[in-house]
Amino acid sequence: MQLWTVIWMNLRSLPGRLAATSVAVIGIGGVVMVLVATLAMSQGFKAALNVAGASDIAVIVRGGSSGELASNLSDAEAKVIEDAPGIARDAHGPLVSPEVYVLVDLPMIGSGTAANVPFRGVGPHATALRSHFKLVAGRLFAPGLDEVIVGRGAASQFRGIRLGQPVRFGTKQWTVVGIFEDQGSVTESEVWTDVHVLQSSYRRGSGIQSVRAQLLAPEATERLSSALKADPRINVAVATEKAFYSEQSRALVTLVTTLGSAISLVMGIGAVFGAINTMYAAVAARTREIATLRAIGFSGGAVLASVLVEALLIGVAGGVLGGLLAYVGFDGYRASTLNFQTFSQLTFAFSITPAVLTTGILYSVVLGLLGGLWPGYRAAHMSVTAGLRSL
């Protein structure tokens, strides 16, 4: 009972201290905004790479190559892969897509600086192997023609790839005939054409870089992998698409998460000092009131709790403010960055999930409580006799 009274009384006097209080709220809010935005960014990466990553699709590249770019497989090797066990088939043969992967230069829309955009030649099963694939404008490229379709992410980030417009890649002029989406996945950062057209345009002969294959079941990966490993004719690495993409982005996700957390931590320390300052001022303004309550018989614990509750509310208010700012400012915002593992530009959308917001608000609560702890302790242990005389 005495606890609630002291807390309630403290909050009643809050309006008189609004200016100092809002400084602390804004301080914590800024920190939370940065934290939430960074988490939303790495969440966006993960989403882009996770959606693309199915666990019943295998990606097969040359053994020892770190990704598609460094891989190469001959026509004969591709045939061996297509005939391996564990791969699904229909009436016309195995459900696989031999793919060629090159990088092309395109200026970014914002800065105009050149970025590496993945240009992928795909087989006829390619769209079926990406379960979220959907054309949103135009049509699919016609096999054998110099036509491309571009991902929604690429279309929004790079200049010069507009529907119906010609674009120059390598030695050729291409026409953009369609725009596709893939639930925001990494695939949306790419430009696609017919694999055979790309092979001849870039003088690849019949060589490819990777094979995507529909597995009979996720468990078939093992079978496929051991069968191909045992085959002396080829040397390949098999991974599910999910594992493949998460490996491709691990360094980037780690970097962003680590950097973001470090920045939030340093900013958080600053915000705690701001909160401490505010709570000291709050306690100082109430010195006589607190001393009077203590003289009447209220416990030091109740006083400490009242300061902590105020600090907690400041923290939560800051957390909500920061989360809201981040949400309004960043949620769904599309950006792109270089994935230095694949040397290609990865487009992604900032994704502020409930988990990200919860983390931000929890952090703000911790910041607020840390700010209130020492001033609250001091208030609970101050000299009652001196406090009674203060004005």
Partner: protein, 228 residues
Amino acid sequence: MSEPLVQVRGVRKEYRRGTEVVPVLDGLDLDIQAGDYLALMGPSGSGKSTLLNLLGGLDQPTSGTIRVGGTSIEGLSSNELASWRASHVGFIFQMYNLLPVLTARQNVELPLLLTPQSKAERTHRADAALALVGLSDRANHKPAELSGGQEQRVGIARAIVTDPELLLCDEPTGDLDRKSGDQILDLFDALNREAGKTIVMVTHDPRAAARARRILYLDKGVLVREEA
């Protein structure tokens, strides 16, 4: 004769100012009988407020013992003292020390929040205490809407609402005009004579002190004189 309500034996109180030790009370002995009305007088720095704070358990003596109502309070922890104060002592301050965000009734009710009483009981007792000091019609006013004399009467109602044996008053009329001060002193008279409250009052004002049954003069931390 029964044990006095307040028994002070050999109480010393020193303050540290840097490395210097400043004695404020120097081996003080004092008995206060239940129902007594005592005025403490003396120049600034004589130790009278310090003595009052020690009697009320707001401060601890450097050495010596203080018994109030049979309890030795010099050994209690700060939280034990707080709950002891809640039920045994009523404080009345020079600057009233009302909480500005609360109404008169809520201010008076405050000490009752430390008791297990229900909301209805608390309101009833707070209203009774306000009636006793003649402020029933001001129960819903905030301190800022009251005159100094009225504020001090709310302060008195707050001090007596838990029915403590001992009322400790630190310059209760020091900030009031003469008429309001007299009203306060009349109230103390009534509380002492009719309700049997034991009152200890620190004052600079000889007119206020003259209303008490005993006047004690302190100087440099020792009792120098007593008038009845």
